[in-house]
Symmetry: C2
Subunit: 122 residues, 2 copies
DNA sequence: ACTTCCCTTGACGCCGGTGTCAACGTTTAC
DNA sequence: GTAAACGTTGACACCGGCGTCAAGGGAAGT
């Protein structure tokens, strides 16, 4: 299939697909006229990429998952490298949550000080 | 005092101070040679701005606090507009935390599915 | 042949606060 | 007098994923 169909089937824009390719996550064969030609496997790759981006992964973070699928695994997460990224990502999310909780407390404290009568939700 | 001293006393770079001015948060008188001239009040304003930026406020969010200080209040947070920003900010932080908790759950679920034996901290 | 849609590459814009450099004037200390 | 340190404005770079436009070639139906 060509890029337009892949875009339609995955929800990615053609711009995004070319961007993924530019960063080495996709490799498309070319028709004699230069058009990119994709396979069903590419649909799976792009679907995996988009699912990971949607939960906050960077594009770079998706690389081990793509490689894992390419090696024939049924899910991108079933390789050691992917599991490492999962766990690192969990740690990062936890760290961000801690930062936000700290900020929340600081802001609430400042508000309480500036406006003693104000009720702080939460 | 001139911009270098203000920078040293507040921890802001001179670049940042000019940026704040460019966005209307600071107004400096000028010496005949064009040098910016600051007062002790400016030290308080910049200190307030930096404290708010440090807890995640955007520069625009600090404007009501600066205005509040300029009107002679002892703290930037003791005006109605500032209190509104405090509360909106708390809501935003809470929303971000909810998003992160949701992502954390999704990532943990995907990890558990890909790697049933993996222990998920938290 | 003409229209219309799809494809190609290349490049700029965004967002926000700041680093950094250029090219130049001022002040200060020796 | 001169060097060092400080000031001025203006502009580009960053980060990351993508929108969007430009300028062109290919495909396909009437």
């Amino acid at each position: 299939m060509r890029i337009g169909e892949l875009a339609e089937r995955t929800g990615a824009s053609t711009r995004s697909l070319r961007y993924y390719e530019q960063h080495g996550l996709l490799q498309a064969r070319r028709d004699p006229n230069g058009y990119r030609q994709y396979t069903e496997e590419d649909v799976r790759l792009v679907t995996e990429i988009r699912a990971l981006l949607a939960v906050g992964f960077s594009l770079e973070d998706t690389r081990p998952f793509v490689d894992c699928l390419r090696r024939g695994h049924s899910t991108g997460g079933s390789c050691a490298e992917s599991v490492e990224v999962y766990q690192r990502k969990l740690d990062e999310i936890d760290a961000e949550i801690r930062v936000l909780l700290g900020r929340r407390a600081e802001v609430a404290a400042q508000l309480a000080e500036s406006c003693p009568g104000c009720f702080v939700r939460g």
